[in-house]
Amino acid sequence: MTRPFDVDALLADPDTRIIVCCGSGGVGKTTTAAAMALRAAEQGRHVVVLTIAPARRLAQSMGLTELDNTPRAVAGVSGGGSLDAMMLDMKRTFDELVEAHSDPERSRQVLENPFYQALSSSFAGTQEYMAMEKLGQLSRTAQEDGRWDLIVVDTPPSRSALDFLDAPERLGSFLDGRFIRLIGGGARGAGRGLGRVLGAGIGLASGVMKKVLGNQLLGDVSTFVQALDSIFGGFRARAEETFRILQEPGTAFVVVAAPEPDAVREASYFVDRLTTEEMPLAGLVLNRVTLPPDHSLSAEEAIVGAERLDREGVHSPTAALLRLHADTMRAARRQQNIADRFSAAHPTVAQAVVPALADDVHDMAGLREVGDLMTADLVDTWN
């Protein structure tokens, strides 16, 4: 027996201040985040939703035509609440972080540094780090001026949901780490100096890196690291601070999965991880589900009927429809089986189910429909 996930209760609870939608790529995180944000707003909350890489048409319908990294009011929201939406611009968030923490001269140096440019636009983990950073900023703004009482965040489209939790720490520790300091210092001949301090092996290693990477790159890294030190006083500390927001009681994680083996496996890993980190899991949203239609015609009966029509050479449209129905029933059964296995492993995790809509979700009406379905207790029809 699966516990239903009461999404409306979560959205209505004034203690819910941050909702993080996680899951592997393409399962509907962005859609779920936007649908929850809209629903909460229309029920009276003041919401900001941070989306990452939304589908183009969905972005347009929410007024997210420019990637300007600032929350903007979404038009067409009814009720007494409000909805602001923004689309994460990873590079810009990084740039702004640099600018906010240094004088113009120094930030110019950093922004023009080729190593920084590569790091801020394409390095593994930067998107996760910046999503976390932006969440930290939004949360501080919300506390300072009370503009928002609920922040809904989407997470980057990584293949593993865990990346969101791990990447900032990985990037932070790399930037703070021995290695970068070593090659950073290396450009001024510290391959020798540092080598004495840290041991001969490292001196040798740094020599190797010089050979492989070339002096120019080492020089860029060196300038970058020196500037970095004075600007941030520790990337890792900053990442850790934001990470703590995620452990606060006002934060709720929503794990999104599609009823496919891979997506559900990822969701399982993530759920286990949240438990170990003592991070509050609100529930699982199984999205794009094929539900058995509400009547009792089985796949087998439908096939027998279709064959009879074929034999008699009559009503071919109905025969085709019956075969379609049989496929739907089989898909529904397969998906139900996948969901059951998840429930067996995680009996305490509340679940909501959102059926696959015939069309994709690309406007406010679509988001409302997803919101309605999410709260319609459809999970009961599975059991």
Binding site: R57, R170, G305, L321
Partner: protein, 324 residues
């Protein structure tokens, strides 16, 4: 007849989760058909190929994993970036001791996970090496190499990385290798295939990705339209607002000997028909957008389960539609 005549490196990319690994596996089987030796490469360290073929995790060494439809073999290899870094250092700089020290301080982590540029150089370098590898009789060891590549968002940078390296490193072994890899990647010996679903986001990514690849001088191959939902209703029905009328369903059910035990069966079936028509129209709309690219499209059906048998089915579908 040979599939994709002249192509010796097939790179399979696409949006995450669209079926890159599955299509790469099926393509390798299709190419092996008739006695060819095909190398299937994994470059992301995820053991996706081992899972797909249901074999133990692939080692760095080449491992035979399947036979083609009419003889032929598929050999798989997971190019592990870390092993590649060490091999590379040894090969080019004769560094052994340095390798261990580098590992200790996290330089290998740097090269393999944090600095994708360096990692990509190693992965594409190794790939190029395999494509060109010859045996004692000076014949190519592999009739073709298939790579389960990184997703569309990273593919151009990944394949093009040696251009950047070539300009960063001005001389030396790195420069030479970078240049020769780029020669392979940019030649008609290479085809970069894209896997997509007929949905807005993956199609958009495919169109943009194909554009970026072409702009970078990388040869785009075919688009694999994966997980295609079969069109179950006649064409006229699919295009109408009311694909199968309720009166047709009611009479049809009687003729089929299906009693309406519970009220609402007719209505529910009617909704299934409408939803199906909507889905099909969406698929067709997206397919039209793909047609506009002028790239060859290869349709692959949505199968109920993916196992070795299913891979052979997909391989057969590829065999039927591939350019030859």
């Amino acid at each position: 007849m040979e599939l994709w005549p002249g192509v010796r490196l097939h790179v399979v990319t696409g949006k995450g989760g669209t079926g890159k690994t599955t299509v790469a596996g099926a393509l390798a089987l299709a190419l092996a058909s008739g006695g060819n030796r095909i190398l299937l490469l994994e470059v992301e360290g995820r053991q996706g190929i081992a899972q797909l073929f249901d074999v133990p995790p692939l080692p760095y060494a080449e491992t035979r994993i399947a036979v083609g439809r009419d003889g032929g073999t598929v050999v798989a290899q997971a190019i592990d970036p870390e092993a590649a870094v060490l091999e590379y250092l040894q090969l080019f700089y004769n560094i052994k001791r340095g390798g261990a020290a580098l590992k200790k301080i996290g330089a290998i982590d740097f090269a393999t996970t944090i600095a994708p540029g360096l990692r990509d150089v190693l992965l594409t370098g190794k790939t190029g090496e395999q494509v060109r590898k010859r045996d004692r009789d000076n014949r190519f060891v592999w009739d073709a190499v298939v790579m389960d590549a990184p997703p569309t968002g990273r593919i151009t940078r990944f394949l093009n990385v040696n251009t950047e390296v070539g300009s960063l490193a001005r001389v030396g072994p790195i420069k030479n290798q970078a240049d020769s890899v780029m020669r392979v990647m940019r030649s008609p010996e290479t085809a970069v295939h894209m896997v997509t679903l007929l949905e807005e986001m993956p199609v958009q990514e495919t169109i943009e990705g194909a554009h970026d690849l072409a702009e970078a001088g990388l040869p785009v191959g075919a688009v694999f339209v994966n997980m295609l939902q079969a069109e179950e209703l006649p064409d006229a029905a699919l295009l109408s607002d009311d694909p199968v009328s309720t009166s047709e369903i009611r009479e049809g059910l009687v003729a089929a000997g299906i009693p309406e035990r519970k009220r609402g069966l007719v209505k529910a079936l009617h909704k299934e028909a409408v939803d199906h028509a909507t889905r099909v129209q969406l698929q067709r709309r997206e397919r039209d957008r793909l047609e506009e690219t002028g790239l060859p499209l290869i349709d692959l059906p949505a199968l109920p389960v993916i196992d070795l048998g299913a891979l052979y089915q997909l391989a057969a579908a590829i065999d039927e539609q591939a350019p030859r």
